[in-house]
Every structure is written in structure tokens, then in C-alpha cells.
């Protein structure tokens, strides 16, 4: 294995950079770009542009091929197979997380890969959702046996997307807090990941049986909601069963307005990524202090780490939520503002590009490195026991020289900047809908500018601490 850089405990695998200017100056430059973008939007963007998606259906044959039964069976079958391999290798494979297929497949290939793909190509996850595929087969079998479809309970709409938001926190907690053993990209024990996947499979299938497959995927299934959120940014989508093109970012405008808990999903996404980046960097000294208190109180070392991490993770979620809510509160001070609750939901979609930007900035390098492992030695030797070599690639390794530290840094800065400018644009567009008068709309967006600058500087600070 070509180990050209050291492996820090954080997810962003980076070596020391050699930047022409101090890292904090990038934060200053990014803030200036945001302020300039804000004034440019105020001057030139005077009518809402994203309310209409400008839907253009694609050629009929494309929809026929991509949504055909053979394609769906192929994608669903592949997803079920890969989930099965993940569970089996997690439970029966090596306990070394970096040598076991389960960890990289669940927490890198799927968890990071689907948001990237969804933001580019639209909501592809339903086709690859293994639980949906199982539920479809089970539903078909039931219909055949009983002669009628399964009856479901009405989903309580007041819950909205809250089950997915809570599940998202739980999933990241499992990965980052429960599995915080350090030294490798994802420290969770493969056996725990395998068992968790089994439990989640049972829970999801039960909820699908209770509330209906599509209803649960739209509201409660963590991964469908999470990946679906990023797909709202994509220039492709499905409408009335037909694939087509739309204006990029436009679909996001109505994603959060009508369903409760949507704001919580996007806030949880930003906060959990931030915590993952800060855990071994910016938060480290403070975490060590808190851990010392718990140790002195007689609590065991592992429990100490988990309790301290949980507190800091909850604090990060609260911090991100407070910054956003303060921005909304500021907006409400502008005459003609809608009620606070409407504003909270109405502007939540402007955080989706930021969530994606944080994801790229924190995990881009990890994804590039770990996917080399995924498609070489982890596929050939999923259990990591050196007993199989299915594709003849079990002896391959990760080339850490594929990305230089400077390239990683510039990608991170570019992602954060692009994400925040996109967020600012979405927020400005929504403000024009709510205020109508572009002067008042621009005034309301002073506060979103502050939110965007705060998130940009916070994101760059986390990255700079991890890299130094």
C-alpha cells in the first residue's frame, strides 16, 4: 500500500498543505465573494426564477428503458445482493473495519456516494433501495396469496419527516460516536454494523407494512429521505412517471414548505457532518477536557468517550439550528414578513446546497481513497480474511498520492463557496416570493447572508484545523 500521507483519525484524509496564503485568508476571501454575490443578486435578481421548474420531458424511450421491469428488477436485485453481502461480511468477516467490505460499503460507497449521484442525476435511490425492493416482492406475493393488496394505516402527517431526521442522527451517532475507536476512516466494528443493518431492515420492512411502502419511503425511511433531499438540486427528475429535465435547484423550493420535519433533516445533515469533521480537530481539546471530568467521576473510558461525543454532537445540532433560526428571526423583523413558522420551513431548502457542500468538503478525499479499496480488495475479499480473491484484486491497495493535499483543500474551498452561493441564491429567490417588493426581499436577506458567512467560515475553520 502506497502510504504517502499519514492517516489522521478524522474522516478527511489529508496531509499538511502547502498553501500560498494562510488558510484563514480563504475564509475572508469566501466571505467577500458571498457579500459580492449578495449585492449582485439584490441588483440583478428582481423576480422569482425557481418557482417554475421549467419541466422538459425527455424522450419516451429513455423513460421506457430506465423505468422498465427488467431494469427495476436488475437494480433492486443488485441492491438486495449488496446489502446481503454487507450484512454477511459484517457479521462473519474480520473485525478490522478497514479490511471489511461492510464498513466501506455502508458508510462510504452508499452513504456518501448516493448524495453525490443524487445531486447530479436526480433521485436514483428508489431503484436501488433494497428494502423497497424486498417490500415490492413481499407485497406482490401477498396480493397473489390473498387476492387483494395489503391494507395500511394512515401515516400521521404531523410526524412529517421527523422519523427520518431522528433516524439520520441515530445513524451518524452509530458511526461516529458508538464506533469512535480512531485510527481508521470509520471506526465502527463490522459486527455492530452488520447487526445494525439487520435491525434496520426489520424496522423498515415493519414500517412499510404498517404505513405503506411509498409512504414510508417519502417520510420515514432515513436513506430515501436523505438522498431524496439532495436529488432536489439535480437538473433531472421524474414527473407523472416520465423522466425529464428541469431547472437545477428549482425542485428544492417546495421540498420543505409543506412537510413537517424537513428543516430538521437538513439541519441534522449539516450538524452531523460538522461534528464528524470537528471531533478529531476543532473539538478535540474541549472533548478531552470533558472526558477528563467524566473519567474523574469514575466512568469507564469507552463510556466517557461516547457520553462526551454525544453531548458535543447534540451541541452541534443545537448550534446549527440556533444560527439558522436567528437568521429567520432577523428576516421576520422586515415589514411584510410571513409568520415565523412559515419562514422556518420556507427557507430550509436554502440549506440543502450547504449540506451537500459540507458533505463534499468533509468526505471528498475519503470517498476517492476508500472507493479504490471498495472496487479492488474489498470486493475481492469482502470478509477481509485473506481467504478469497473473487476478482483477482485482493492484493491491490489505496494510492494516497492520487490527490495532493492542496488539491483536496481547493476542492473543499470551492465546494463550500459554491454551496453557499447556491444557498444564498435560493434564499433570495424565496424572499422575492414572500415579500414581492425586491427592496424588502433584499433587506430580509441580510440575515441569510450572515447565516451563510457564518456557515462558510465555520466549515473552513473545521477543515483548516483537521489539515494543520
Amino acid at each position: 500500500m502506497n502510504l504517502l500521507v499519514h492517516l489522521p483519525e478524522a474522516h478527511a484524509l489529508v496531509a499538511k498543505q502547502d498553501l500560498p496564503i494562510p488558510a484563514w485568508l480563504f475564509a475572508w476571501a469566501a466571505s467577500i465573494v458571498l457579500v459580492v454575490s449578495f449585492f449582485a443578486l439584490s441588483a440583478a435578481w428582481r423576480k422569482p426564477q425557481f418557482e417554475e421548474e421549467r419541466w422538459r420531458p425527455s424522450a419516451a424511450w429513455l423513460t421506457t428503458v430506465l423505468r422498465s421491469w427488467p431494469t427495476q428488477v436488475l437494480c433492486g436485485g443488485l441492491a438486495v445482493l449488496l446489502l446481503g453481502v454487507g450484512i454477511y461480511s459484517g457479521i462473519h468477516g474480520t473485525e478490522a473495519p478497514d479490511r471489511n467490505y461492510a464498513i466501506t460499503f455502508f458508510f462510504v460507497t452508499a452513504w456518501i456516494g448516493f448524495p453525490f449521484v443524487s445531486a447530479l442525476f436526480g433521485n436514483v435511490f428508489p431503484a436501488f433501495n433494497p428494502w423497497r425492493a424486498i417490500a415490492r416482492v413481499a407485497g406482490g406475493a401477498y396480493r397473489l396469496a390473498a387476492g387483494r393488496g395489503m391494507r395500511h394505516l394512515a401515516y400521521p402527517e404531523r410526524l412529517g419527516r421527523w422519523p427520518a431526521a431522528v433516524g439520520l442522527l441515530g445513524f451518524v451517532w452509530l458511526e461516529v460516536v458508538y464506533g469512535s475507536s480512531g485510527g481508521v476512516a470509520v471506526g465502527l466494528e463490522p459486527h455492530a454494523a452488520g447487526v445494525a443493518a439487520c435491525v434496520y431492515t426489520g424496522y423498515t420492512l415493519a414500517m412499510m407494512a404498517l404505513f405503506g411502502r411509498e409512504q414510508w419511503c417519502a417520510r420515514g425511511e432515513i436513506f430515501s429521505v436523505y438522498f431524496g433531499m439532495f436529488s432536489q438540486l439535480a437538473p433531472f427528475g421524474v414527473k407523472d412517471g416520465r423522466i425529464g429535465r428541469r431547472r437545477p435547484l428549482a425542485a428544492a423550493t417546495h421540498w420543505a414548505t409543506s412537510v413537517r420535519g424537513s428543516t430538521a433533516v437538513v439541519i441534522a445533515s449539516i450538524a452531523t457532518t460538522s461534528f464528524d469533521g470537528a471531533e478529531d480537530g476543532a473539538y478535540k481539546p474541549a472533548l478531552e477536557h470533558v472526558e477528563k471530568w467524566f473519567t474523574e467521576a469514575g466512568i469507564g473510558p469507552l463510556a466517557t468517550i461516547r457520553i462526551a461525543d454525544t453531548i458535543f454532537m447534540a451541541g452541534t445540532v443545537a448550534g446549527v439550528a440556533i444560527v439558522y433560526l436567528l437568521g429567520v428571526k432577523g428576516m421576520q423583523s422586515v415589514p411584510g414578513a410571513p409568520p415565523f413558522k412559515q419562514l422556518v420551513r420556507g427557507f430550509a431548502h436554502s440549506l440543502i446546497p450547504i449540506a451537500l457542500a459540507y458533505l463534499i468538503a468533509h468526505y471528498f478525499s475519503l470517498f476517492v481513497y476508500q472507493e479504490q479499496a471498495q472496487f479492488t480488495y474489498l470486493l475481492s475479499d469482502p470478509l477481509g480474511t485473506s481467504t478469497t480473491n473473487l476478482f483477482g484484486t485482493a492484493e491491490y491497495g489505496i494510492d494516497f498520492s492520487a490527490l495532493s493535499p492542496n488539491v483536496i483543500w481547493y476542492v473543499q474551498v470551492a465546494a463550500l463557496l459554491a454551496g453557499h452561493v447556491a444557498g444564498l441564491t435560493l434564499a433570495h429567490d424565496k424572499a422575492l416570493v414572500y415579500w414581492r417588493d425586491y427592496r424588502r426581499a433584499s433587506r430580509s436577506q441580510y440575515w441569510m447572508l450572515a447565516v451563510m458567512v457564518a456557515f462558510t467560515c465555520f466549515g473552513l475553520y473545521l477543515l483548516s484545523v483537521n489539515a494543520s
Binding site: W24, A27, W28, S31, R443, L449, A450, V453, Y461, S468
Partner: protein, 60 residues
């Protein structure tokens, strides 16, 4: 004075690096508060200057 005594104790400067990241946020928030106050003041003054021009019915 020996050389050792004039060396700046820079070992812990890294702990204060976050200050550089907070400065742009403070500048933007300060600018927002200042411009918001200025706009409210201008609106009040415009309201005051328009009030005497209105007739008794309009004022009611």
C-alpha cells in the same frame, strides 16, 4: 537580555486561530445591524415628514 527571553511564546497561538474565522462574521453582522438601524431611522423620518402633509381624515 538573552536571546531566549525575547522569543515570542507562539506555541499556543494555534488555539486562537478561530478568531480569524470569526472576524468576517462579526463584520457582516455589524454591517447588517448598522444598515438595518439606518433604514429604520430613514423610514421613521419619512413617516414624520409625511404626517403633517396629510389631512385630518387621512390621519384618522
Amino acid at each position: 537580555m538573552t536571546l531566549a527571553s525575547i522569543v515570542i511564546p507562539s506555541a499556543h497561538l494555534g488555539h486562537w486561530l478561530w478568531v480569524f474565522y470569526v472576524i468576517p462574521v462579526l463584520i457582516v453582522v455589524g454591517g447588517i445591524i448598522r444598515s438595518t438601524r439606518a433604514e429604520k431611522k430613514r423610514e421613521r423620518e419619512e413617516g414624520r415628514s409625511e404626517a403633517p402633509k396629510r389631512g385630518p381624515k387621512e390621519r384618522r
